[in-house]
């Protein structure tokens, strides 16, 4: 990397993004950042720099290098002096955020080690979901070049394995624990530093420290509040087939990956026979098939059916567009119906700079990134300091099944056989 003093031709962070990185305390990699910032910021820079040392930072309007508004619709770290965490650095905001939420707790990116150089990210998560976040991180550091290859998670694991020692991949970012587990199992993941791992609860990361969850999704029971009260939704997944009130009133999406992961969990936790009986019981109950779980949530909100099985965020997406819809979320307790799966990241063992790669993963667990997952993708943040959206319980209040290795949920082959065997078309 060249270290030219004049960097005015650097692309500016777009104005909708929050505060550019401007940590004056550190030397080294951040020097260039600072210089550029000073060069661009002009008189506004003074106020911005002041913000680095005091939690009473000025409003976001004055932060922007160009002096224009930087999206001040609340939720920005600038009014976060009352937020817990005691962070001295303001928290930026990815995307448009959401009104009425307190500033997220946790570690802001500005307190994390700087990123620089080229980092190759193999992302099994779609560009629609994480593109804005990647762009935000890249814009934060003028010396950083994030090269993201998007693809299917399995394709990318297979690609890394096939590339062998000449793989360009530094970080593997996956939609599920299964692909991460596969990479780790093949000894292609480097161990993450303790400082990154400890940000996340033990059950949402690899016991060997080779990958860490970055956001999560809970299996839930969406229901229509005009048809049922919350107490009428069983907290035991095995109680559903026997409850005649659900006859012809429920929906599922058997061809959807998360549903198959849920059935896989049931297979692992309760055995094949119990799973077969449950599936048969639900069929006998007249459960209807949908193409995806967003459609199920819509159908419940419309009163077409009264309850179903879906990932928690589909309910939030429906409510996002229709806040008054008679739709709410229920959970089962400690069984397959309450599986909590994660998207996560690993550092590939052939990474050019494993520390840099691990620090990129660390950024995915920053206050900004976790707030982004909560408010934009409606996922569960995995650090306890950031709250999920809506009326959802916090992650510590959830009761997922104990002793389930999430990476085993990728074993869908026998699950598909089972589904077909009982006559479900997948």
């Amino acid at each position: 990397m060249t270290d030219e003093p004049h960097a005015t031709d650097e692309p500016q962070p777009s104005s909708r993004l929050g505060r550019p990185k401007s940590n004056v305390q550190r030397d080294g990699p951040s020097r260039r950042t600072r210089r550029r910032f000073l060069a661009l910021a002009g008189s506004a820079g003074a106020a911005a720099l002041a913000g680095c040392n005091a939690s009473q930072a000025p409003g976001p309007q004055s932060e922007s290098p160009t002096g224009t508004d930087a999206d001040g619709d609340g939720g920005d770290g600038s009014d976060g002096s009352s937020a817990d965490g005691g962070s001295g650095d303001p928290v930026g905001q990815v995307g448009s955020g959401r009104e009425g939420r307190p500033a997220p707790g946790g570690t802001p990116m500005s307190e994390m080690p700087d990123l620089s150089g080229t980092v190759d990210v193999y992302s099994g998560r779609g560009e629609a979901l994480v593109g804005a976040l990647v762009e935000y991180i890249e814009d934060l550091y003028p010396d950083l070049n994030l090269r993201v290859r998007y693809g299917g998670s399995t394709d990318l694991v297979n690609t890394i394995l096939t590339e062998g020692q000449n793989s360009p991949a530094d970080v593997f970012y996956s939609v599920n624990a299964g692909s991460l587990g596969a990479l780790a199992e093949r000894d292609r993941a480097a161990e993450l530093p303790e400082g990154v791992l400890e940000l996340v609860r033990g059950e949402f990361r690899d016991p060997g420290g080779q990958w860490v969850g970055t956001s999560g999704r809970a299996r839930t029971v969406p229901y229509n509040t005009e048809a049922f009260s919350e107490s009428e939704i069983p907290d035991d997944i095995f109680a559903f087939p026997d409850a005649s009130r659900f006859e012809d009133e429920m929906g599922w999406a058997p061809s959807y990956g998360s549903f198959q992961a849920f059935v896989t969990a049931m297979r692992i936790l309760n055995g094949e026979e119990a799973t077969r009986e449950w599936l048969q019981g639900m069929l006998d109950l007249g459960i209807q098939s949908y193409s995806d779980e967003f459609a199920i949530s819509q159908a419940i909100a419309d009163g077409e059916i009264a309850a179903g099985f879906a990932n928690h965020y589909y309910i939030q997406r429906v409510l996002d567009g229709r806040p008054d819809a008679p739709l709410a979320t229920a959970f089962t307790e400690g069984d397959a119906g309450a599986v909590f799966n994660v998207a996560g990241a690993a550092v590939v063992d052939t990474a050019d700079d494993t520390d840099m790669a691990a620090n990129f993963v660390r950024h995915l667990l920053s206050a900004e990134a976790q707030e982004y997952f909560a408010t934009t993708t409606f996922e569960y943040p995995l650090i306890p300091d950031v709250e999920p959206v809506g009326a959802l319980p916090t992650i510590d209040e959830l009761n997922p099944p104990q002793g389930l290795d999430l990476s085993e949920l990728a074993d869908i082959g026998p699950t598909i056989e089972l589904l077909r065997d009982v006559g479900i078309s997948v």
Binding site: E127, A128, R149, D155, N158, T159, T162, N166, S425
Partner: protein, 539 residues
């Protein structure tokens, strides 16, 4: 033998003799396109537990399923493609010129988009089901399974048969049919005894492309929930820890083995064809009272294949999507340029590679020439993901820092396209070589031209339309290719199909509609090129 049909007089005096330079060139092309298979073979050998997998009842069952699917789709494509070709070439079908184009157009629609559209339209809670109720259709057979998979694959691959058959009908000597008619043959007898033998090689060549496409297609059986062989490959491939890649490679080799069988069958069929050196239009067949029923049939077919996906894309466009993060997915015209760029390069490279192979195979009936030509078809049957991984392996292994920096990914991607779609160029080019009399270059040589100059000055201009048609077919197929593109594109290199994939994957159907329509539009232009050059030797 492959070229038994060509009377020796047309080939000139070369016969069994293989010109050394040409043979080496064609052999090199075949060797290069077969090279990725080395990795597939090596991986397959590493697969453990393969015997168990290959003999597992499920594997056997899906193998039978695939065979059934290939048989049905190929049969149905012939049943649709040949009559449609006949109607549009030889009869007084109303709106014949429009149908000529419309009936070929389903080929521009990627079968996975077609499958998706049919499920959206006629699946459970389908969008177009309500339209059928006034027609008295309240219950539809399930779109899923063998029926749906056959329907969709037939609708989107029968044009291979239609196009090759049309070209052959246009270039055959129509006066032969008239002659048969004067000998008191009925229309049907004349068709059976005169036309069929002449168009058989073309029908076989088109059916070959249909059959191989059906055999190796991943998307359609998956969307139509039909248990085809590729689904097992996919399940194994996903089971990374269970040795997925290796088992997938092994199963792909089984596809290759089936391909050999199909290739051998096609060789026999096309070998018995009759070729003439004269082409002339026969008289147009009057359909009489069958004119309008035939019109209705063509219209129904075109409507089903084209209007269903267009209607669904239109709905997506109007409704927009229900997904999130749309702002990171803004569509840029550069994606279309990327698509066109790589497809055009692939088409040119494939056309150049096809020339020596096709020329050799058309001019010589030696076994080696036959073998070389058939070898270029093998890559067509290897699933895109497996081909993609094979090239990833070679790139990473021998590409060093160039691979790591992503600099040789585009050449690899284009190579993958050429390996997969070369047969389409070979087929079309070979057919045009066959229609050029071998005596022409010899005449040029007696006038003092060198063999190379004789080829360039005399033969090449005559076969140019066939070469162009083959290139256009490769272009069109490359535009639609998804699995290898996803594996081998450089980071941040986006094409129309990768964009459609990204949008569709995240539920942004509204965003997928525009690039899908652009894709269809660009492909439609290349289809017009194909139709324009067909049967060029008639006019």
């Amino acid at each position: 033998m492959a070229t038994r049909s060509v009377p020796a007089v047309l080939r000139g005096g070369e016969g069994r003799e293989l010109p050394l330079g040409l043979t080496l060139l064609a052999g090199a092309v075949a060797a290069v396109v077969l090279s990725p298979l080395v990795w597939v073979l090596a991986s397959a050998l590493e697969a453990s537990g393969w015997l168990d997998l290959v003999t597992r009842p499920t594997t056997v069952r899906v193998f039978v399923n695939s065979a059934l699917l290939v048989g049905l789709v190929t049969g149905a494509s012939i049943a649709l493609g040949v009559p449609m070709a006949y109607l549009t070439v030889r009869t007084d079908l109303p709106a014949r010129r429009s149908f000529t184009v419309l009936l070929a157009m389903p080929l521009v629609i990627p079968s996975y988009i077609g499958a998706f559209a049919f499920v959206s339209a006629f699946g459970p809670r389908g969008e177009l089901r309500d339209l059928l109720v006034p027609l008295g259709i309240e219950q539809l057979p399930s779109i899923y399974g063998l029926f749906g998979a056959t329907l969709v694959l037939t609708l989107y691959t029968y044009p291979y048969v239609y196009i090759t058959t049309r070209a052959s009908l246009k270039s055959m000597d129509g006066r032969l049919v008239d002659a048969a008619r004067t000998l008191q043959h009925t229309r049907w007898e004349a068709f059976k005894r005169v036309t069929v033998p002449q168009i058989k090689p073309a029908v076989a060549a088109g059916s070959l492309l249909t059959a191989l496409y059906t055999l190796s297609d991943f998307g359609t059986p998956a969307i139509m929930r039909f248990d085809a062989f590729t689904r097992v490959i996919f399940v194994e491939y996903n089971d990374v820890l269970g040795g997925g890649r290796d088992l997938a490679a092994l199963l792909s080799l089984q596809l290759v083995a089936v391909t050999f069988v199909i290739l051998a069958v096609e060789s026999r069929v096309r070998g018995s064809g009759v070729e003439t050196d004269r082409t002339a239009k026969g008289s147009t067949v009057r359909l009489g009272r069958w004119r309008w029923p035939a019109f209705g049939l063509c219209a129904a077919l075109a409507a089903l294949a084209l209007l269903v996906p267009l209607a669904i894309l239109g709905l997506w466009l109007v409704r927009g999507g229900g997904g999130i993060g749309a702002e990171s997915l803004a569509f840029r015209p550069s994606y279309a340029l990327n698509s066109v760029g790589v497809a055009a390069i692939a088409a040119v490279v494939a056309a150049c590679c096809a020339l020596p192979v096709a020329y050799l195979s058309a001019r010589s009936d030696a076994s080696l020439a036959w073998l070389i030509e058939r070898a270029t078809y093998v890559g067509y049957a290897v699933p895109g993901v497996v081909m993609g991984l094979a090239l990833v392996f070679f790139g990473a292994r021998y590409g060093g820092a160039l691979y790591k920096q992503g600099l040789i990914l585009l050449p690899l991607l284009i190579f993958a396209y050429v390996v997969r779609f070369l047969p389409q160029a070979v087929g079309s080019t070979r057919a045009s070589f066959l229609s050029v009399s071998g005596t022409l270059p010899e005449a040029a040589r007696t006038l003092g031209r060198t063999p190379t100059r004789a080829f360039r000055d005399v033969v090449l201009p005559l076969v140019a339309p066939g070469v162009l048609g083959g290139a256009a077919l490769v272009f069109l197929t490359t535009m639609k290719e998804l699995p290898a593109t996803l594996l081998l594109r450089p980071p941040e290199f986006k094409t129309l199909v990768t964009y459609i994939w990204t949008a569709q994957q995240s539920g942004h159907y509204g965003l997928a509609a525009v690039p899908a329509l652009v894709l269809l539009g660009v492909s439609a232009v290349s289809m017009l090129v194909i139709l324009y050059v067909e049967g060029y030797d008639v006019e």
